[in-house]
């Protein structure tokens, strides 16, 4: 028997009451009533710390058990899910285990689970959607930054031929690669790849190139981004990070939210640098296969970025590795692939 208090339907005035019986056949005796009633239970609040548990009956009346009452004993519900959870919640030993498990799981999810899941998701993304992303992004960038290329047709054919030879050397035609020429406008000397295989190169970048190999290296780098699906992986990794933040941040203050989102931005830059190194590596492979100089494009990058402070060094705030690091790592990769230095 539990001694508690009873609220009649829709009213805030409570009366002392007793509840007994078994689950499914309860007896409620409200003080002042002559007879106990047999109310039909519709909802019993789950066990949680020392929060008083409430029995809600069919007519809207509520019986409130005091904090220390053995409700599970009365209802025979010791084995119910939340009674078990609540016993875990009461145990310091389990809490200690849970702390280790939680940190371990979060770390491995972030360190290993996320990249694997992101690259799997990138592979299964429908190609139709990716093509839509290409045309949509190009349209937007055209409207905001670019104007049509001012190169003459013979120059375009020349660059296109280099591009085709690189595409062939890359030995993989999924997704299909496509080259676009644009006047860079405010973006100046630049090249970038869209996830669906569209690679854009600006007139200004071609003008700055002193040899075919220089811009070919840049094109091969962009082909690397496309074939390793870096843009899609980036999107999925960032989605995964915000999901993880949502997972653990259910009860966090606004200040903490701010710090975490700033940290996520830094993390996305780290991802970008990782992908840039990866694309550099792929560029070296493609260039060697096409019989070209794999480190020539570094000279072009140095020319482009010579006026930008900080572009020579890698830092935790940069989107690309610094030129010095790039030159070193690109040369090393080339050497391991038996490049003779010519």
């Amino acid at each position: 028997m539990i001694e508690g208090r009873y609220f009649p339907p829709n009213a805030s005035r409570s009366t002392a009451a007793k509840l007994w019986g078994i689950s499914g056949d309860l007896r409620l005796h409200v003080e002042g009533d002559s007879e106990p009633s047999r109310p039909k239970l519709v909802l019993l609040s789950d066990r949680l710390g020392s929060v008083p548990r409430k029995f809600t009956f069919e007519d809207g009346g509520v019986f409130e058990a005091p904090a220390n009452a053995d409700v599970d004993g009365l209802m025979g519900s010791h084995g119910s899910f939340f009674s078990r959870v609540s016993r875990l919640e009461a145990s310091w030993r389990f809490a200690a285990v849970a702390v280790f498990l939680t940190f371990g799981l979060l770390f491995s999810l972030y360190r290993y689970g996320l990249p694997v899941a992101a690259s799997a998701a990138a592979v299964v993304t429908p190609s139709g959607l990716v093509e839509l992303m290409d045309s949509g992004s190009l349209e937007t960038i055209d409207r905001v930054f670019f104007s049509p290329s001012k190169l003459d047709d013979s120059r375009k054919r020349e660059v296109q031929a280099v591009f085709d030879s690189l595409a062939l050397a890359s030995g993989n035609n999924s997704p299909p690669l496509k080259l676009e020429f644009r006047d860079g406008g405010r973006l100046d000397a630049n090249a970038f790849a869209l996830p669906g295989g569209t690679i854009v190169i600006t007139d200004q970048l071609l003008e700055l190139s002193k040899s075919e190999d220089e811009y070919a290296g840049v094109l091969a780098h962009e082909i690397g981004h496309v074939q390793n699906r870096h843009q899609l992986q980036q999107i999925y990794r960032l989605l995964g990070i915000s999901f993880m933040i949502g997972l653990v941040g259910g009860d966090s203050s606004q200040l903490i939210d701010q710090v975490v989102s700033q940290a996520a931005t830094l993390q996305s830059l780290a991802y970008t640098r990782e992908f840039e190194r990866d694309a550099d590596k792929r560029s070296v492979e493609i260039m060697l296969k096409a019989g070209r100089n794999p480190i020539a494009f570094i000279a072009l990058l140095e020319r482009i970025t010579k006026d930008i402070p900080g572009a020579q060094k890698t830092s935790w705030l940069s989107s690309h590795p610094g030129n010095e690091d790039r030159k070193k790592s690109v040369t090393e990769i080339a050497k391991t692939l038996n490049w003779d230095g010519q």
Binding site: A11, S12, G49, S50, F103, L129, S137, S253, I256
Partner: protein
């Protein structure tokens, strides 16, 4: 049937809110919530939310009775799935065409409805003594208070901020009910401007202190760099050189956040002290702005330093402070309230505001 008539002969009794939760009990609930949420890749978050809110509401007592949270996990899970689905679709569309990201207009049109339904849901899921709260919004009222006024306040560089605070406090307060009893809020504009003025002084002082402290720490770090650091690690060297500027900015940024907390604490006092509940009851809030800022700031630092292990303690600490400084001046017994049937609001709207971190405290 009993009628509600205030009896002037009865003396007014002050009931303080009393929070009985403890950090050690909540820590274990929190870590179990977190672990189960991760293991179930997020599905348990809906149950976790209900347990967290039930813990806080259920341990909050007033005149010997506790509050209760009635949200159902399945319902909340469905709300979350809907909202996450919408967010993912919008993100995909933005990737397909970045111009979709600029579609702020439909969002602003939907916002008043979302806020009304969210406040409605949260009020409806809260009860005290078997009587539920409810909230009845109006679209254009919410549009004026939550869309037009904040824009006006931003365009006047904050000059209209107190007016915006007054209108939103009144909007929420005058549309909230406890059972059949209506709340009434008439936040005083003059005092809100006073709070605003004090906040500006507070901001200036704290910005000066935090900004220069940040700059000072950074300078020491970069001095350390030039004097002692002879390594070849570019990252560390660069970080040290940039340190004075960066930590100065972080300091100033933190100061603005503290100022916001300071201001909101003042608004809470003024709004609740100007709120009455049908039957001659009045609400009371007497939090100290400086103390509340200190609690928020030290909570933040400790949470960060302990990789969030102190978060449960911090959450309990600030809730306990808020409750300890809130009271109701009851003109008569609180036994005479009557519940009535009202619509439940919309769980997806509530989950949207929850996910976005938008919060309207009761």
């Amino acid at each position: 049937m009993e009628t509600l008539v205030a009896n002037p002969k009865l003396d007014i009794r002050q009931h303080n809110f009393d929070f009985r939760g403890t950090a050690s009990e909540y820590f274990r609930i929190w870590i179990v919530n977190l672990l189960l949420s991760i293991i179930t890749i997020g599905i348990y978050t809906a149950w976790a939310k209900v347990r967290r809110l039930r813990y806080f509401y259920g341990n909050t007592f007033l005149d010997g009775h506790n509050f209760e949270y009635h949200g159902r996990p399945i319902q909340i899970l469905i709300g979350r799935i809907i909202i996450i689905g919408i967010i993912v679709v919008i993100n995909v569309l933005t990737q397909v065409n970045p111009l979709f990201g600029l579609l702020i207009l439909p969002y602003l049109i939907a916002l008043p409805w979302l806020i009304n339904k969210a406040i409605g849901f949260n009020a409806r899921m809260t009860s005290y003594r078997n009587v539920r709260f409810s909230f009845k919004g109006s679209y254009w009222g919410a549009f004026g208070v939550f869309v037009a006024m904040p824009i006006a306040a931003a365009m006047t560089a904050g000059l209209l901020g107190p007016v915006s605070s007054q209108l939103s406090s009144n909007y929420i307060g005058n549309r909230l009910k406890f059972g059949t009893a209506k709340f009434r809020t008439d936040a005083p504009l003059g005092a809100l401007y006073g709070n605003w003025g004090v906040t500006i002084v507070f901001t200036l002082i704290v910005t000066a202190i935090a900004g220069s402290a940040g700059f000072g720490i950074g300078t020491v770090l970069s001095g350390f760099n030039t004097l002692a650091y002879t390594g070849t690690n570019g990252d560390i060297a660069e970080f040290l050189t940039a340190a004075p500027g960066i930590s100065g900015i972080i300091g100033a940024y933190a100061a603005l956040f503290l100022a916001f907390i300071f201001y909101s604490a003042g608004v809470r006092n003024l709004a609740l002290n100007a709120t009455t509940l049908e039957g001659g009851h009045a609400l009371q809030s007497s939090i100290s702005r400086l103390q509340y800022v200190w609690i928020a700031f030290s909570n933040f630092v400790l949470t960060l330093l302990t990789l969030s292990l102190m978060r449960p303690w911090a959450a309990i600490r600030s809730w306990r402070y808020l409750m300890a400084n809130s009271a109701i001046l009851a003109a008569s017994s609180l036994d005479n309230f009557v519940d009535e049937a009202m619509p439940d609001g919309n769980v997806a709207a509530a989950e949207y505001l929850d996910i976005e971190g938008i919060d309207f405290g009761l």
